[in-house]
């Protein structure tokens, strides 16, 4: 008897990955009200293509490819600006989960700043591996590059990020008097 094809059901794929897709879109510069539309657009594609997903392909790698393309076309349509450091925390952060911790926000801002300076390939490799915790193989699959290249990209990006976080950060000058 042939093995049952373990295609994950669409609701499951949605629930398990909607936040991941949301963040990937954000990292590709989709912002504000466009995010929800873009996320839905990704899952519309997913619904159409899920049955074709090969057994050996990681769902998240696959989703990344779809999200990247949707983000790209979204940017072309809406002229959404590239990811920029903002003073305000992103509106997408669930208010209930958002920590009003200045230190935390500061750390996040620093990470965003450092990542912003990296080439997109390195930035996304780092995000997928270190933030989203994909395996290196998945990063390679998602980015359509050899595993060795994915590994190098993560390494280089990680070196930059670690170095930035080790440097003493400029402190706010306390008010004199």
């Amino acid at each position: 008897m042939p093995p049952v094809r373990a295609t994950p059901a669409f609701p499951r794929v949605f629930e398990e990955n909607v936040s991941f897709v949301w963040r990937v879109l954000e990292h590709h510069g989709v912002r504000g009200s466009e995010l929800e539309d873009a996320t839905q657009e990704v899952f519309i594609v997913v619904a159409r293509k899920l049955g074709d997903l090969d057994d050996g392909v990681s769902v998240r790698s696959w989703l990344y490819g779809i999200a990247r393309r949707v983000a790209s076309s979204q940017r072309r349509r809406a002229h959404v600006r590239r990811e920029q450091l903002t003073d305000e925390p992103p509106a997408s952060i669930d208010a209930a989960r958002q920590h009003d911790d200045a230190e935390r926000q500061e750390a996040l801002r620093l990470l965003q700043t450092v990542l912003e300076k990296l080439p997109e390939e390195q930035r996304m490799a780092f995000v997928l591996r270190e933030v989203e915790q994909l395996t290196i193989q998945e990063v390679a699959d998602a980015m359509g590059c050899p595993l060795q290249t994915a590994y190098s990209r993560v390494r280089v990006a990680k070196d930059h990020v670690m170095a930035a976080f080790r440097e003493p950060q400029p402190q706010e000058v306390p008010h004199a008097g």
């Binding site: 373990a6 994950p8 059901a9 669409f10 609701p11 949605f14 909607v18 936040s19 963040r23 504000g32 009200s33 995010l35 929800e36 539309d37 839905q40 519309i44 594609v45 159409r48 293509k49 899920l50 049955g51 057994d55 050996g56 990681s58 769902v59 790698s61 490819g65 393309r69 509106a91 997408s92 952060i93 669930d94 208010a95 920590h99 230190e103 935390r104 750390a107 996040l108 990470l111 591996r129 933030v131 989203e132 915790q133 395996t135 290196i136 193989q137 390679a140 050899p146 595993l147 060795q148 290249t149 590994y151 190098s152 990209r153 993560v154 390494r155 070196d159 670690m162 976080f165 080790r166």
Partner: protein
């Protein structure tokens, strides 16, 4: 062979601030309102139950569009179409997926509605990895095509770890014992390397192929317990499911 090439940065402690920042970045997610709208539009049942309202059903839209009204006409058509298509898809797939509790009956099976033709999603083949096989062997004894930067030491150390796991990947089907030995070597050299998860999955596979199914099952259970969100979950479950009676 770079026997003694241990990449110490694999064990390098991540600064606390970076850990915090990555955690904060990881927590970004759509709000409950957004989620509810997307579920409604895509025909995804609320996992908290059919009667359970979202946290704030009429909460502030916080700048987002409100459901289908905010979508373009094309997307609205597409969403309407996909809701019907999803019915069939969901119905077909959930029959084999008991892990998802669905409290609402599947929509009637109808012919899939073609989505708006102007909506042209990327083809699966375009998204699929360039390398047809997911095996690590694709990267085996390859020279880096070009240096990503001047950090050649990094690349050298990387090759060592990648090549080790790559060789194990190549051998796991024909010589699982040799693959297992390579995995152990990797564990010794790179206890916190980047390919730890790949290594653990290879160990499961090697044990499985050596007939040590109980050992493989235990290994896979501990792996999934330690890595509940691993992207390799499906693969591990598939490996051990193959051995199940």
């Amino acid at each position: 062979m770079q026997d003694d090439t241990h990449d110490p940065r694999g064990d390098e402690a991540i600064p606390e601030a970076l850990r915090v920042a990555m955690g904060a970045m990881r927590e970004r997610a759509p709000g409950q309102d957004s989620l509810a709208r997307m579920r409604a539009s895509l025909g995804v049942p609320d996992p908290s139950g059919p009667g359970a309202p979202p946290d704030s059903p009429n909460g502030s839209p916080s700048g987002t569009t409100t459901g289908l009204a905010g979508l373009s006409a094309i997307k609205a058509l597409a969403v309407a179409g996909v809701a019907v298509t999803l019915g069939g898809l969901w119905w077909a797939t959930t029959r084999d997926d008991s892990s998802i509790a669905m409290s609402t009956p599947g929509p009637a099976m109808s012919a899939p509605v073609e989505l708006a033709s102007s909506f042209s999603p990327p083809s699966h083949s375009a998204i699929a990895p360039e390398t047809p096989s997911p095996a690590l062997s694709a990267t085996a004894p390859v020279k880096p095509r070009r240096a990503e930067n001047s950090a050649s030491a990094s690349a050298a150390a990387g090759e060592s770890e990648v090549q080790l796991i790559g060789r194990a990947q190549q051998l796991v089907r024909s010589q699982p014992q040799a693959a297992l030995a390579l995995c152990r070597e990797h564990a010794r050299k790179f206890p916190k390397g980047m390919l730890v998860q790949e290594r653990e999955v290879l160990i499961v596979e090697a044990l499985q192929r050596m007939g040590q199914e109980e050992e493989a099952r235990k290994k896979s259970e501990s792996f999934l317990k330690e890595n509940p969100d691993t992207a390799l979950r499906n693969k591990v479950e598939h490996l051990t499911a193959d051995a199940a009676p």
